[in-house]
Subunit: 437 residues, 2 copies
């Protein structure tokens, strides 16, 4: 038979051990923070009926859904995000507690153009609170984002926060109709990239009047780092529009609660130019950015009070966020934010010869029974080869039990970093490892 070339599909990745050790560490830290906030774990299937996912992700998203006919000629689709499956779950199991806090950490698939930092299979880490209109829910979500990033070692980041009704107020202040909302959001979303002049040019090209553009630019200036001050300005200028006024009150409350959550001022700010996906969100929106490297947002979320009503008549409010694992890991790698153990095993137990393999196995059993990860070199043979293996895997210690050590009930412990070695009675071996960092 001719060989089959071992290769991957474009946009898909193998995670070899070195990557996996870091990924597992990051996931475990995020899971721990989510559980500290009382979120309960959920998993949904990879495949769903196509109509569950279809029509929820906009025109562009629709094209990116992996879909096919299964063996029973059913139209099926692969999980595209974790929010729509959650909405289905909420509608399908009315017995779930309300409010319902759930977290979900699973891969999703998008048939996107593969490019640097963009993959067709990637993990999302979501937490959501279902059944609550109060801004306390937002507080819990944003606190989870903040605490996750801090636990992952992030020192510089900013959670930008806005509200859809603030954008509507801005539209009204500029004297524009609802159909201008989308182009408005698209342009001001680029404020950081293209600056006020760039936004101005784009708006005018899109048919906005000079008067409208002037008022929009006036309002964009409220992006003051001190959120309370910015809120005062927004309140003064566009707070008269009823829903905007109430949104400003909500945001003020939120900022107060975030302070009580122990979040320092530098980690969040009101940002009038933040829009995110408007099809989806109905109230607050938020995302986290880092100044370095330039990789876009690392988390994103908001309130979506109408999504679940696709599946059930009951109106169920909801708010949540998604942490993008791949971008988080990119930043963690670049700035070496997390110490990552370079090996799993603490010791390699040398396998001299067939006559002594049994003794090596016995030492392994002793260590493992005491919670010390180790491995027996699975083939009797040359020491040199076994040392080289331990070196390649960064295993810190090599244990040697030859006939002499077997005779006197000891074991030689060799530290690979400096080549030093000690003969230790077997009964002291566990103590040695427990007292070694």
């Amino acid at each position: 038979m001719s060989l089959i070339e071992p290769r991957l599909l474009k946009g898909f990745r193998d995670f070899l051990p070195e990557d996996m050790i870091l990924r597992q560490k990051v996931i475990s830290i995020i899971r721990n923070v989510f559980e500290l906030h009382g979120f309960l774990p959920l998993e949904t299937p990879t495949l769903e009926h196509l109509d569950i996912l279809s029509g929820k992700y906009g025109e562009e998203g629709e094209k990116l859904i992996y879909k096919f006919k299964d063996q029973g000629e059913r139209d099926v689709a692969m999980r595209y995000d974790l929010t729509v499956p959650l909405a289905r779950v909420i509608a399908q199991y009315p017995e779930l507690p309300r409010p319902f806090r759930r977290y979900q950490i699973q891969p999703v698939w998008r048939a996107d153009k593969p490019q640097k930092g963009r993959f067709r299979e990637f993990y999302q880490c979501d937490c959501d609170i279902i059944g609550v209109e109060d801004i306390t829910a937002e507080t819990e979500i944003i606190s989870s984002v903040h605490d996750s990033l801090k636990a992952l070692g992030f020192q510089k980041f900013c959670i930008k926060i806005n509200h859809r009704e603030v954008l509507n107020g801005l539209l009204a202040y500029a004297g524009l109709e609802q159909n201008f909302l989308l182009p408005l959001c698209r342009s001001i979303d680029k404020l950081d990239k293209i600056g006020p002049d760039g936004v101005k040019d784009e708006l005018i090209q899109n048919g906005f009047s000079n008067a409208a553009v002037a008022r929009i630019l006036e309002m964009l200036q409220v992006n003051d780092p001190v959120s309370a001050f910015a809120m005062d300005l927004v309140s003064e200028k566009i707070g008269k529009f009823v829903k905007t006024g109430s949104a400003v009150l909500q945001l003020r409350k939120l900022f107060g609660y975030l302070k009580e959550s122990g979040i320092a001022d530098e980690y969040y700010k009101f940002d009038i130019s933040l829009a995110r996906g408007l099809d989806y969100y109905t109230g607050t929106v938020f995302e986290t950015v880092v100044s370095e490297p330039k990789i876009g947002s690392i988390t994103g979320g908001g309130r979506y009070d109408e999504l679940i009503s696709i599946f059930t008549k009951e109106k169920i409010p909801a708010v949540g966020t998604s942490l993008g694992l791949e971008r988080l890991i990119e930043v963690i790698k670049i700035f070496e934010l997390l110490p990552v153990p370079s090996s799993v095993s603490k010791a390699l137990i040398v396998n001299f010869s067939e006559e002594t393999t049994g003794y090596a196995v016995g030492v392994g059993q002793l260590l493992r029974a005491n919670g010390i990860p180790c491995e027996i070199y699975p083939e009797p043979g040359k020491l040199q080869k076994q040392f080289k293996y331990a070196d390649k895997l960064h295993i810190p210690y090599v244990l040697i039990r030859g006939s002499e050590e077997i005779a006197d009930g000891s074991v030689v412990v060799k530290k690979l970093a400096d080549g030093s070695q000690n003969r230790i009675p077997l009964e002291n071996l566990i103590e040695f490892f427990k007292s070694t960092p």
Copy 2:
């Protein structure tokens, strides 16, 4: 818009929190045992080029692979097991250490007929050692199986062990040609179910001569619980066939090493009737059975020295095993083998009114900063509703901070199990939780 019915595809499942808490616990225990044995984590993509998976799982398996054409008209297939992707990885990354120990815990998909206990999406937990011919590798794999099951609380199980060359010896002893191997294996595999008479009838129906059947039945009697004794018999009767003789020596060594690994005699046995999938395995085969409930094998594995050569010219020996998460969990649930916490949060912080929400948030921050999982009821309102919620979620404590407690810097801690309550100064709250089991 008309409602979309929230529903699942047949054979697929949602894991709601109660299930997920148990699943995560089981996975974390297995991962820990794998790491104690020095296995390194690996993940491979959900989608592979179809030719990577196709033709590896036999005629029946082939039909069960989920396959389709993606947006780029490429033939793709969903992960069917964790062994073939591992073989691809080994061939694709020659820089990986050798021997290479890897574990992998991921879902796989098979378009099987959904029936009780059989799903189209399910998790496998695999560990394998690549690049080793020596039986020490088998020892490490079987020790991982044993230690995993013990760590999961299993008290009664048996790892059956056989060798393909023992089956070949049996065939030769009965005077049969190689083409009788498959029907022979199929029949003796049912020995436990249909007994020796059933096996006899089936063999005769399949055209085995009376003389051949007599010899086969003679050998089936060696299934003595004491493996060493059975090995003596096998050795005496069929050890003269060269490869069988050497296989018996290997098995004897293995049983000796398993003893050194701290595995009690009751947990493993030589079983001449164990065949497993013959397309695949080239040496040892093993599987774990439980007497109760009747659910077939809960782990299975063996040596596959030729699989990797589908992808590379180099001959690379390999041995490994797979633990079936779904069956393990079924047994764990039936016999309540693992204590499972009924809630994630240790405390619900009552949200009285808008005026006091900030204080509730502050208490949450204090607990979380000290590693105590808790949640703030995300909506100010009636106490009764909030207590009911805590009850439904089995949250053990409710913390109440009304105007009185805010004034004197305390918090009321109510234990829901017995309704008892204490007012505690805020600075003693962490101590209270740390000293409470």
